[in-house]
């Protein structure tokens, strides 16, 4: 067997609760992004493009969508005899058995998987981020510096630094201090949650951390501080380029909009660094004689008879005549009726919007039930919801999954309201 120098462990168990209804039935890495992808495709494609062919994907929250998306890893060339992709979900052991408690605990519970492959290095990734990165450059850096743990960092504006885990380094890049969300940041180098470890050393620290009942078993909060305390060789690898944690409704929406500018902030058309995903079996899309698409991206299988502007349209979407879609994201296989107007909204998969509907109108009032989630003026319609003809829906409204016509007590849903299946309020 060819020994693996490096394998990847991809943490894909996060719920992403601030994405609201988008993550109701799937983990955040499984959320659709960019007209045909799911968020996890970026990390998986980075692995493929960096020459890493062995990836363990750690899942926990709502893994079904993720599991069926990844399958045996074919789209990422990871259907390998030696290596490939393995889904690692929590499992029962002889005398114990528990959910993954934290990121470090998740890896700790899968020590056997890594031991069997016996790599020299392990790269820990998060399946939540949109970026293109060559991990092999980071590995070179790691080796060159005789590093034991290398953390990928990027420069953030000073005023935002207090929202990140900040690495304080010497001039050469050696880390001497790590501060989680510091009030008075000493540097602007934020951790991206990408770590390369020497496996033997990580293994030792995982076991040590697991024995500590006080620990939250988290890489950022526990493992890294513990290694710093022991004066392990820790280096920061600078990444420059597009990197987004699409953790909130607004960040998710903005990051999708980053793809549609003339020179997009994030380029999906780079043939030297393709992003792979299972391709839908659909014909090329069709723009009708009454249709118009400007400053947008649209995927295969769409039929567009209306007007689309500043938007991202996923595969298989139908947009009726006279409909106007602006500043919005319409996910796979949704239908938008004739004469409907949609502004600044996220329409989930397989949603049926009727004729002459208006979505995203009125005042910008935060959502009454979940002001922490729906507050940026964006209205979100959950998967498979049906919106009746003539409905008028305001801003920061959430229409829950599977909502049917009967769930609309009125056709006028003002800003900040919610429509839920069976009238349920969570």
């Amino acid at each position: 067997m060819v020994k693996k120098e490096i394998i990847a462990l991809l943490l894909a168990g996060g719920q992403g609760s601030r994405l609201g209804v988008l993550t109701k039935t799937m983990a955040k890495p499984a959320v659709l992004y960019g007209g045909k992808y799911r968020i996890i495709d970026f990390s998986l494609s980075n692995c493929l493009n960096s020459g890493i062919d062995t990836v363990g994907v750690l899942t926990q929250y709502q893994p079904l969508r993720l599991n069926s998306h990844i399958g045996i890893g074919k789209p990422w060339d990871m259907d390998r005899i030696n290596g490939g992709v393995t889904i690692l979900s929590p499992f029962l052991k002889e005398d114990t058995g528990e959910w993954y408690k934290g990121t470090a605990n998740a890896v700790c519970q899968n020590i056997d998987y890594v031991d069997k492959l016996n790599p020299k290095y392990v790269v820990i990734l998060s399946g939540d981020h949109i970026y293109k990165m060559d991990y092999s450059g980071m590995l070179e850096f790691h080796k060159k510096n005789n590093s034991e743990v290398t953390i990928s960092v990027f420069n953030v504006p000073f005023e935002e630094a207090s929202r990140y885990g900040i690495m304080n380094t010497h001039e050469n890049g050696k880390v001497y201090e790590f501060e989680e969300k510091p009030q008075n940041p000493k540097s602007t180098l934020a951790s991206m949650g990408v770590y390369i470890f020497n496996w033997d050393i990580l293994r030792e620290y995982l076991l040590k951390d697991n024995g500590n009942a006080e620990s939250q078993n988290d890489f950022g909060k526990n493992i890294i501080p513990m290694m710093l305390k022991d004066e392990r060789s820790m280096w920061a690898y600078r990444f420059s380029g597009y990197w987004k944690d699409v953790g909130t409704i607004q960040a998710f929406w903005e990051s999708n909009m980053d793809l549609i500018k003339r020179v997009p902030d994030f380029n999906l058309f780079d043939h030297a660094w393709r992003i792979y995903t299972p391709n839908p079996v659909k014909p090329a899309h069709y723009i009708g004689s009454t249709g118009s698409v400007k400053k947008s991206i649209a995927a295969e299988g769409c039929m567009i008879y209306g007007s689309v502007r500043n938007s991202v349209v996923f595969p298989g979407v139908f947009i009726g005549e006279g409909a106007v879609i602006e500043d919005s994201i319409v996910m796979s296989d949704s239908t938008i009726g004739k004469g409907t107007f949609i502004k600044q909204s996220i329409i989930g998969e397989k949603v049926a919007v009727g004729d002459n509907v208006k979505i995203g109108i009125g005042d910008n009032v935060p959502n009454e039930l979940k002001p922490g989630i729906y507050n940026s003026g964006i209205t979100v319609v959950g998967e498979k919801a049906c919106i009746p003809d003539g409905a008028e829906i305001g801003k920061n409204v959430v229409v829950g999954m599977d909502v049917g016509y009967e769930d609309f007590s009125s056709l006028n849903i003002i800003s900040g309201k919610s429509v839920m299946k069976g009238g349920e309020c969570e």
């Binding site: 003339r262 659909k282 014909p283 090329a284 069709y286 400007k294 991202v312």
Partner: protein, 375 residues
Amino acid sequence: MRMKSTIGIIQTGGNNSRLKELSENRSTSAVPVGGKYRAIDFVLSNMVNSGIANIAVITQYNFRSLMDHLGSGKEWDLDRKTGGLFMFPPYLSGGDSGWYRGSADALYNNLTFLKRSYEKYVVIAQGSCVYKMLFDDVLEYHIEKNADITIVYRDMSDFEPKELSTMGILHVDEQQRIVDFEEKPTNPKTKNGSVGIYIMKRELLISLLEESAAHGWYDFVKDILIKKLNFLNIMGYKFDGYWRNLSSIQLYYKCNMDLLNPIIRYELFSENGKVYTKVKDEAPAKYNEEADVRNSIVADGCIIEGTVENSVLFRGVTVKKGAVIKNSIVMQGSCVEENSSTQFAILDKNTVLTNGKSLKGEPNLPIIVGKNVRV
């Protein structure tokens, strides 16, 4: 479930010069069509959608493009342990001549495949036709009619009369039995044209091929079907759907334009199963502010800043500012630069229409720009 006991054989045709530059370096079955497909995708998907899982593709001319496209058959779910996809280009061995001398000879040369299979029936079909058909219905009909051979035909009234002279024209009696079959007649007596789909028992096909080879006959239609009309029960099955053979530039051009019609598109892509093809992992198409696209098909990977009307754009086409594409077909990876224009044109793969250049063909005589050419 009966289709599980059926082999599919796809004939990819002779050297067709009526497709001009388009088939210069590719098999007629590998001609790109509809924004992301190759002609053979339609018959292959029809077979797979009908449950046929053991398929041979017989090739002769310019088959490299076809081999590239089909690979192991993964995209059609044909990378199987039992059955799957088999490619049969001509080969030299002991007693074989190598080059196929005709359609029957091509099958005869691969008799081993037929002999070592154990399926009861065979469907033979052509690789260069665009249509959607489930072969289950044809097989059911074949069995019900107690036919020895069933030939699928269609009323070709929607073709220009001169096209009928390039087809096999059938006469069927009231019981749908084929009583006459004229191959490429100068004066066709009916408008019933064969679509080149034949169903029969595998054992019968083997014996017909052996008999024909013993006589030194090589053509499947002339030497087997026509010669056996009075000796076997050969039935006609009428197909009413959309069907085009991409056998000439005019037919090729029109077929692509037909796909702009929602009714035809629905029949081909939304009914009776999907159409599978090789995937390319392109990003969704990107439209910039100046894009003005109407009544057109646009595939993934395109970047559009110009005007596109009544056209088909394949994957990865770039249309720059001020460019105008009308009534045209632009294949994969081509670029139409600033202020250039095309009208009734077919741009093959990776062509470049440079700044300000203009190309204009006629509806019945589209202008063709060959692969990799810079105009």
